[in-house]
């Protein structure tokens, strides 16, 4: 059935590559910001948005996500400039979800009011831990008190959709201390909570000291993941994705695009896009980004472009959908790929019996236990056509 009148939807990801300081675990692209760099960057970003807009003709934008880096290092004028560009060149939906990531800061009231006034309607605050010792270890530039002030300022400023990022598996962290963090945050009742397991990535300060870090072992880390799932469920949060929890109707609409294979365009250095069946990315180099935009060489911003099709597309679908506890609708799988799931990936009976998968009618999904070891299972299934 052709859906008449329903326009294709698009999400925009805007990368803000500035940070006050680099955290020990972070391998994301960011650098310290000075006023001059910021101005030049803002100009390039807006220019890039304008240049890309014709591609999105006929689509409506229903999510915008400011990621970083630290988007809140921009000031209200910057945000306004971006918004004007988006509104001026894209069909931004009235009720679009517009998220900005932010870090705890002091005297946040002005910032929050400004953000909200420009149109940001969802805030994602990076807390990571309610334990100051753990925050210091992570190299975070704030304590819990700054977080609380920021959170309250956000509420005062009008934000009724707030997400808090937590982390577990921090060096020296115990199941108990993570439990305290969880309880503290649950007490604040944010609409959304992300709880990520720390991974030591190459190129981060932690990587260099990985041998001396007292990282919780597999059992302890798993216990933390289990604890998060249990406490948050009891507190009324739906565990909808590996590391994401939401109150009813408060899933991150932007992040859902990633898992559902919907279109999104990324702007700024190290931004990723999936657009009309092709994945591409920009290089993780702010100076080069600005330079490329100024030269008007927009095709150079689409690096490593790969058209996702055939087996790779099928495997991606499985990898991404299975991150969600909604899992895969088997009929949808067959409709898309003309083959059954089990014909492709083998019988799931043993995994069902082992308690890793549930099959509820037409829907195949990981259980909590299965989700925690989903890599091992996906590895057996997927080869992305290679």
């Amino acid at each position: 059935m052709i859906k008449v009148g329903k326009k294709a939807k698009l999400g925009l990801y805007l990368h803000i590559p500035f940070c006050v300081q680099k955290c020990c675990y972070c391998d994301f692209h960011s650098a310290k910001a000075d006023k001059g760099a910021r101005t030049a960057y803002m100009r390039a970003l807006c220019h890039h948005l304008k240049a890309a807009a014709p591609d999105a003709k006929g689509m409506t934008v229903d999510t915008v996500y400011f990621g970083g880096g630290t988007p809140t290092l921009l000031d209200a004028t910057d945000f306004k400039a971006i918004f004007d560009t988006v509104k001026g060149h894209f069909a931004l939906e009235e009720d679009a979800e517009i998220t900005a990531e932010c870090n705890p800061v002091t005297n946040a009231d002005g910032l929050m009011e400004g953000l909200h006034a420009t149109g940001v309607n969802r805030l994602s605050i990076g807390l990571q831990s309610a334990n100051d010792a753990e925050l210091r270890l992570l190299g975070r530039p704030h304590g819990f008190a700054e977080f609380l002030a920021t959170y309250e300022a956000a509420r005062r400023g009008g934000f009724d959709n707030v997400s808090v990022d937590l982390m577990f598996g921090i060096p020296d962290q115990t199941v108990e201390s993570f439990g305290k963090t969880l309880d503290t945050v649950i007490g604040l009742s944010p609409e959304h909570i992300s709880a990520y397991g720390l991974r030591i990535e190459e190129g981060t300060p932690f990587y260099g000291m990985r041998k001396s870090l007292a990282l919780p072992d597999e059992d302890a880390e798993s216990a933390m993941a289990e604890l998060a799932a249990e406490r948050l469920r009891k507190a009324g949060y739906e565990h909808y994705e590996i590391s994401n929890y939401a109150k009813a109707g408060r899933r991150s609409r932007h992040n859902m695009r990633y898992w559902l294979g919907d279109d999104y365009l990324g702007f700024g250095p190290a931004a990723h896009s999936y657009f009309r069946g092709t994945r591409f990315e920009t290089a993780p180099d702010t100076a080069a980004y600005i330079d490329t935009v100024e030269r008007g060489d927009f095709s150079a911003l689409r690096q490593n472009a790969v058209r996702i099709e055939g087996k790779e597309q099928m495997d991606e679908y499985v990898m991404l959908r299975m991150r969600l506890f909604d899992g895969i609708e088997l009929a949808d799988f067959e409709r898309r790929f003309g083959t059954t799931f089990e014909a492709q990936y083998g019988s799931v009976e043993a995994l069902q019996r082992g308690g890793f998968l549930t099959k509820d009618g037409d829907r195949l999904a990981f259980t909590e236990q299965g989700m925690r070891v989903s890599n091992a299972i996906l590895c057996d299934w997927l080869d992305f056509g290679h």
């Binding site: 397991g197 990723h272 999936y274 994945r279 991606e316 070891v373 890599n375 590895c379």
Partner: protein, 606 residues
């Protein structure tokens, strides 16, 4: 027997020594001193021309070289130096090399004195009726005790040593003394050059252009190009292409070899398997009546399964083994299939060193990654129906109900050690089911211990334990004594209730529990967590004697997916999948080759 004038100017001799006492270095100096090799061309230790030998400082295969020595008496002598392998695994080859000689230089390190292999080799030389000429080496070292060493040689071996040469091969001190002593003390060869040909094969190697090059010592008769020769052990006949002698840089053709001489024969022979060391060469038309005594086809003593870590390289492994066998008649192999490890070969070796050498050459020269199963000896099992079976592979071990009795090979071991370590070494031998025979003081500081030990205890890490308990000072020599009845059991390992054939081994009942526990623990440590809990069981028949559990995996997930970066997540999954591909399926459990080797490694943990 009459000696010709030609024979009077020949000396055939070997150099024998304990490992590292300087045999090869002395050989180098003799080559230099006789100008067989100029100093400039001197490649260090030219006789050991395999890389591996150079690195390990040991001689694996015998080589021979002719030296022309212009003696102070104005005469020129032909000195044939026959190098011998220096390890217990190659004892038979040593004895054949010695049989090609009239005398031997027994090199003794003046700082170490007599060691186990000094004695073992000296006895071999005595058995071959050789004139033994001691040479005391390393006299340049500050800790050299020349007089003490002379006395020890006289006391322990019972040969005169008061006037023997004392040299430093390393710095080239007193080398002419050695050459003079060779001419003066070692008898010239005898033998009737008009009698039917009788020649001893003491070595052979495969050359891709010449075919097999056979090294021979002529006892009687003559041989020349065009002769039809017969190998007496197998009756095979070949037409001689060339005969000649070995100089330092290779083969040098000559018209004829005659009784008393050492040289080579080429005859388009395809495999060293046909030219076994110790065999007698004669002429097909006028054969000698009796072959030379003492020939035996060497039998492997140690067996192990060798598998390519990457199963797809099975063909490469076969090619590599075939190439090595061209030059190593003692290496045997036949295809073997393991449920756990796939296709590989059951290989037989003379001993552990031989096995290590083959493994190392396969890995280095043929660039193969290997998985080797636990080495096994040959067990003799008498079944209830009276049938005797020889088992070199635990997989073929009969059902215990069918076994009447089992026997295992026993060796007579000689250990020489400083007295300080006697207690620890006796404990070690005791622990390895050794039967104490006797103990002899060589002097106030050193002792020779004799034990009867099961061979399967020696191939399991014995040498390393010996070295570690004696800070490297103890030396070992052993010879096979025979088979004795023994309470043997086959120990199996089960993962998830399924037996893993590649992990089974045969062990003495008393040792079964300890080994079972240790291997079960190692399996637990080395098997990565799987989705499901993995029970590990060690069993004798249906009786479980040890168990461990690999807990189920609890967490293996990539949570963060920054900013829609899907590609990175895919790459990580692909990398993880690559790692999985290298895994071996042990029953329903996946184990990396590294983990498998860690489980089978011979070293004791304690």
């Amino acid at each position: 027997m009459a000696q010709t004038d030609r024979q009077a100017h020949i000396r055939n001799f070997s150099i024998i020594a304990h490992i590292d006492h300087g045999k090869s270095t002395l050989a180098d100096r003799l080559l230099e001193a006789t100008q067989t090799v100029s100093k400039r061309d001197m490649e260090e230790q030219i006789l050991d021309n395999m890389d591996l030998e150079k690195e390990r400082g040991i001689t694996i295969k015998a080589r021979a070289v002719r030296l022309l020595y212009n003696a102070p008496d104005g005469e020129q002598y032909t000195l044939n130096l026959i190098d011998t392998p220096g390890h217990v695994d190659f004892n038979y080859e040593v004895s054949r090399s010695l049989n090609a000689c009239e005398g031997a230089l027994l090199v003794v390190d003046a700082t170490q004195g007599i060691e186990a292999q000094t004695l073992a080799n000296a006895y071999l030389a005595v058995d071959s009726d050789l004139e033994i000429l001691p040479v005391i080496n390393k006299i340049d070292l500050p800790s050299a005790d020349i007089d003490g060493t002379r006395k020890e040689i006289e006391d322990v071996i019972g040969i005169p040593a008061m006037d023997c040469p004392a040299v430093s091969a390393k710095v080239g001190l007193n080398i002419p003394d050695v050459l003079e002593a060779v001419v003066r003390d070692i008898p010239a060869p005898e033998g009737d050059e008009n009698a039917p040909l009788k020649a001893l094969i003491f070595d052979s190697y495969y050359d891709s252009y010449l075919g097999v090059v056979v090294y021979v010592r002529l006892v009687d008769g003559k041989v020349r190009s065009g002769d039809r020769i017969r190998l007496m052990s197998n009756g095979k006949e070949f037409d001689v292409v060339d005969v000649g002698v070995m100089d330092a840089f290779g083969l040098s053709k000559c018209e004829e070899l005659r009784a008393g001489e050492v040289g080579y024969i080429t005859a388009s022979i395809k495999s060293v398997g046909e030219t076994r060391v110790g065999d007698t060469v004669t002429l097909a038309d006028t054969p000698t009546k009796e072959p030379l005594p003492g020939f035996k086809a060497v039998q492997p003593m140690v067996y192990a399964g060798i598998y390519p870590a990457d199963g797809s390289r099975y063909g490469d492994l076969r090619d590599a083994l075939e190439k090595l066998q061209l030059n190593d008649a003692a290496l045997v192999f036949e295809p073997e299939t393991s449920i756990a490890l796939g296709f590989g070969y059951r290989c037989g070796f003379l001993g552990l060193l031989h096995m290590e050498i083959i493994e190392e050459r396969l890995e280095r020269e043929f660039n193969l990654d290997l998985i080797t199963t636990a080495p096994s000896v040959i067990y003799e099992i008498t079944k209830r129906d009276g049938e005797l079976v020889r088992i070199d592979n635990p997989t073929n071990y009969p059902d215990p109900a069918e076994i009447d009795k089992a026997a295992e090979p026993i060796v007579r071991a000689s250990i020489i050690t400083p007295t300080d370590y006697v207690g620890g070494l006796m404990d070690l031998c005791q622990d390895r089911r050794g039967e104490f025979l006797d103990m002899k003081y060589l002097d106030t500081k050193r002792v020779e211990l004799h034990y009867r030990l099961p061979l399967n205890e020696i191939i399991y890490d014995f040498f390393d334990a010996l070295k570690s308990r004696s800070r490297g000072y103890a030396s070992l020599d052993y010879e096979l004594e025979g088979y004795v009845d023994s309470k043997l059991v086959k120990l199996d390992f089960l993962l998830n209730g399924e037996q893993v054939d590649a992990l089974s081994f045969i062990v003495h009942e008393e040792k079964a529990y300890g080994r079972a526990r240790k291997i079960a623990e190692r399996l637990k440590e080395n098997i990565p967590r799987q989705l499901f809990e993995v029970p590990i069981q060690a069993a004798i028949g249906s009786k479980i004697i040890a168990r461990e559990t690999v807990k189920a995996m609890r967490k293996d997930v990539l949570a963060k997916c920054y900013g829609g970066d899907i590609t990175r997540k895919k790459k990580l999954l692909e990398k993880q999948k690559e790692g999985k591909k290298k895994m071996r399926q042990l029953g329903s459990v996946q184990v990396s080759p590294e983990a498998f080797m860690a489980v089978l490694k011979l070293e004791d943990d304690d």
